[in-house]
């Protein structure tokens, strides 16, 4: 992964752990102001506009731990082109057409970036509140360090 990779954090910061994607982007932005970083609320037409504008894309989103069958704070890396995203419990949107549908639509429209990967962080607290739960916050902080290492050595 290089600095030309667009990193997109998806989620709603007012819905607890759903805000983990924007949280990671905010942390990276402080340390890598020149990187290609963006956030999205997960609405389909906005996501597709992001997909169409780059060659390499890393999407960071919350997973529903119960649907994914993993513990809170688990970090899952997926090949965005092959993975069955709907089965993973990705829950980016307060709208019905979110990340999974946007990826399916991008495949149908042949506008998915050639290099597309997804990192899901499993959460359990998606109520109307600000801030991440402790396991998700710890996992997100560790992910930021890992991404920094990858970007610095690219």
């Amino acid at each position: 992964m290089g600095l030309d990779t667009r990193i997109l954090g998806v989620g709603n910061s007012y819905r607890g752990d759903d805000g983990v994607g924007p949280w990671v982007i905010a942390a990276l932005r402080q340390r890598l102001p020149r990187a290609s970083l963006a956030v999205s609320d997960g609405e389909m037409s906005n996501l597709l506009a992001e997909f169409g504008g780059c060659q390499a894309l890393l999407l960071i989103d919350a997973l529903d731990a119960a649907t994914a069958g993993v513990d809170a704070g688990t970090v899952v890396r997926l090949d965005g082109r092959d993975a069955k995203l709907e089965a993973t419990g990705l829950r980016a949107s307060t709208h019905a057409m979110g990340v999974a549908e946007a990826v399916s639509m991008a495949k149908a429209l042949d506008c998915l970036p050639g290099d597309f990967s997804v990192i899901g962080i499993a959460g359990t607290c998606f109520e109307n509140r600000e801030g991440l739960s402790r396991p998700v916050r710890d996992a997100a902080a560790a992910l930021v360090e890992e991404l920094m290492r990858e970007l610095e050595h690219a």
Partner: protein, 444 residues
């Protein structure tokens, strides 16, 4: 434009059609149709989304909180809830905003109509006319059309984001105006994109006008706002195709809500008589065609739709014409931008009763509030478009099923779902999955 001829019914056994979870509608609903010995017995559109008690928890809250609280009722049409709330509160307080604020409100409403209508046309309804399961399947063979729709929707999103602060559940609307005024250049920067989108909306009208439409015509009472000069958003009188012409404050005398045992949504009926009625794009269009821009009228003429539209399957064309109208008006409002005197007027403190109806994408949305001297809400009543259309949808289905009993279960189920989507029912927020079960009920 062509019409699809539907086979006349033959001898048909008894059966029940159950759509336990309606897809491509906003929220959670089901459809049950019973046919016995070749005769239609019952049609029920059941909304099982739980009651959400918004009217109850508005009580005791400050009148200034109503726009932001009611906006949370719907993620698709939050602007409509905000607009009905601010107009009702301003009516209760006896204040009126200036022309600059009025125009910005119309611009915001343009954005919401575009977002909502384009989503429905391209993602929810068009797949029905081609026989696809969903828009993703449609996209593989209609790539250019879907790409056009997605870009148009994004233009609508952007209008709402600039003026409302964000695309879903805007945060910049207040009683008396806006919390923060936008700068003219925020909009002028997107004028080129809006002009592209207006052309794309014209292509959309041409596209949907060429679909094959099932036949269905009934004697509806269309109900909508009518304004002295403009296509209606938030002002005017409430009129109907059967002679109703009343001020907004008289709404409770002419419409009544009714609890049916099988659904969590209240039905709304015309008074006296207790008859169903029809709100939404077709009602607005039929009652306000002379208020459309000249460009929209020309487009309607070119496509054969500059006339009263009575087949609800044509609603997709009317929706597309309203998208064109919204882009056309948005461009005009930006080019003739009027700077408001202030972001919001100062509100007096007084007790009062305020009512307002505005035109949500899906139709008339009525709010009524009683305010006490401390500026707190004593009572609230909200009548959304889908509850007003629910009985009309059921009546459409009765006629449709009775005329199409010879169709296979799969074809008849698909036709019924398409008919429900004619109204773009907004039960809460969208779902995108479907479980259909059809079984014979003869003798059971």
């Amino acid at each position: 434009m062509t019409s699809k001829k539907i086979p006349v019914k033959a001898g048909v056994k008894s059966r029940r059609i159950e759509v336990d979870y309606l897809a491509r509608v906003e929220g959670e609903g089901a459809l049950y149709i019973d046919v016995e010995d070749g005769e239609l017995k019952q049609v029920q559109l059941k909304i099982f989304e739980p009651p959400r008690f918004f009217e109850a928890f508005l009580r005791g809250r400050a009148l200034t909180e109503a726009p932001d609280i009611t906006a949370r009722i719907c993620g698709i049409c939050p602007v409509a809830y905000m607009m009905s709330a601010v107009h009702a509160m301003e009516s209760a307080l006896g204040v009126t905003v200036d022309e600059g604020i009025r125009r910005l409100r119309r611009l915001l409403y343009c954005g919401e109509w575009i977002e909502s209508h384009v989503l429905h046309i391209y993602m929810l309804h068009a797949p029905d006319f081609f026989g696809y399961d969903d828009a993703i399947a449609m996209a593989k063979e209609h790539r250019d059309a879907v790409m056009r729709g997605l870009r148009m929707k994004k233009a609508g999103n952007e209008l709402v984001r600039i003026l409302g602060g964000r695309e879903i559940h805007p945060i910049n609307v207040c009683v008396g105006g806006f919390y923060k005024l936008p700068r003219r250049e925020w909009f002028t920067d997107m004028l080129d994109e809006l002009k592209w989108a207006r052309d794309a909306a014209a292509e959309t009208v041409q596209w949907v006008a060429g679909f094959d439409f099932p036949e269905l015509e009934r004697d509806y009472e269309f109900v909508a706002l009518r304004h002295a000069s403009d296509y209606p958003f938030s002002e005017g009188r409430i009129v109907s195709s059967k002679g109703l012409d009343i001020a907004m404050d008289d709404y409770p005398d002419h419409f009544v809500e009714h609890q049916a045992p099988y659904t969590n949504a209240l039905h709304s009926l015309r008074q006296p008589g207790g008859t169903p009625y029809f709100v939404g794009p077709m009602a607005r269009y039929n009652l306000n065609r002379d208020r459309l821009s000249s460009s929209t009228r020309s487009l309607a003429q070119e496509t054969g739709f500059d006339r009263t539209v009575v087949n609800p399957f044509h609603s997709i064309v009317v929706r597309a014409l309203e998208v064109f109208q919204a882009f056309d008006e948005a461009v005009r409002l930006i080019e003739e931008f009027v700077e408001p005197a202030q972001a919001a007027i100062t509100l007096p403190r007084r007790a009062g009763v305020g009512m307002a109806a505005t035109e949500a994408p899906r139709g008339l949305l009525f709010h009524r509030y009683e305010i006490n001297e401390e500026g707190l809400i004593e009572t609230a009543n909200i009548v959304p478009p889908t509850s007003q259309n629910q009985l009309t949808i059921e009546d459409d289905l009765r006629d449709l099923v009775a005329a199409n009993l010879a169709l296979s279960e799969a074809a008849l189920t698909a036709r019924c779902e398409q008919a429900i989507r004619n109204y773009d029912p907004c039960i809460s927020c969208a779902t995108h999955f479907l479980k259909v079960r059809i079984r014979d009920v003869a003798g059971s």
